[in-house]
Symmetry: C2
Subunit: 190 residues, 2 copies
């Protein structure tokens, strides 16, 4: 039920497409995700999709950025260890147990085959996520809890990298104990 509009696209159609793509990915997986399927599920003509998105991964990326990118903000309790454990636990849950995480994993995977997508994912999500990951470290540095010359980017990689590695590569479970040990040992070595 579209409403003709000379000036500008239909927000209703746009949202229906994003939601359909998101739902179908979670339900059937990336391999079964087709443009025609998205169109049908969204109640939208295929041409409407091609008019606004170059490919299905662009739909997924927009859906991901729209409703899921901002949720991984670390807390600020004044206690670095506690903040990191909470934050890394949230990242682990995101990666392994959330719908948004499933979309992220699909995008990261497609990024391996598609450099343009990888670049967009980095520019429009990972750089911002990196900034969020650094926040607890920066605050701790300001408090004097971390040495002024500590390299926070490297530190962030060392905290977050093992989680992505387990979630995306080995598939090992990320336990509470693993996160706790990761934080404890990493801070001990800083």
């Amino acid at each position: 039920m579209h409403r003709g509009n000379r000036h500008g696209r239909s927000e209703q159609a746009r949202l229906a497409v994003l939601e359909a793509a998101d739902d179908l990915l979670v339900e059937k997986g990336f391999a079964a995700l087709t443009v025609e399927g998205i169109a049908q599920r969204a109640g939208v003509a295929k041409q409407t999709i091609y008019r606004w998105w170059p490919s299905k991964t662009d739909i997924l990326l927009e859906a991901f950025l729209t409703d899921a990118a901002e949720e991984l903000t670390p807390p600020d309790t004044g206690d670095l260890t506690r903040d990191l454990v909470t934050h890394l636990t949230a990242i682990s849950r995101f990666l392994t147990a959330s719908d948004a995480g499933a979309v992220f994993r699909a995008l990261a995977a497609e990024g391996q085959h598609n450099p343009r997508l990888a670049a967009r994912l980095r520019a429009e999500h990972l750089t911002h996520q990196r900034a969020r990951d650094r926040q607890p470290l920066e605050r701790a540095q300001r408090r004097g809890e971390l040495p002024a010359e500590a390299d926070l980017d490297t530190l962030a990689d060392r905290l977050v990298g093992p989680l992505y590695y387990r979630a995306l590569v080995t598939g090992q479970q990320i336990t509470e104990a693993f996160v706790a040990q990761l934080v404890r040992a990493t801070l001990a070595g800083a």
Copy 2:
């Protein structure tokens, strides 16, 4: 130019297929990799491929396991730090700058969409690689350089995870300094 053979398949055809798949992946990327393309490049009929491999990812996996899996064996100089720096540097080069690494990245990516492939990649490569990654740590533990109660699996994840994270997710360069700092700080926190 086939050679009829009542007893067993043609090793020549098998190798030609594996090499063609490998080459085409590196040259054109995974998105452009097709069974028909592999058959043509290998000088083999499509049916010959389907007779022996269920899908193109199985071809890639076999190619990867055949000629590239064993190269990431860490050295044993008796000096843990040196061994780890050498080993992690080799892993980084493998992931970011080798043909075999390109195949691995493609397989890891496809594994996100295909649980059976992911399981095979883990069973037939990652578990063995994990064992290799642990070797320097086990030797150091035996030498008393690492505490007996150190969790070597976690330690291996903390060493190797950040490399995979950079190579597969963020795309950041992995510098010598990064590896050195990773090893130094990780051992300091153990």
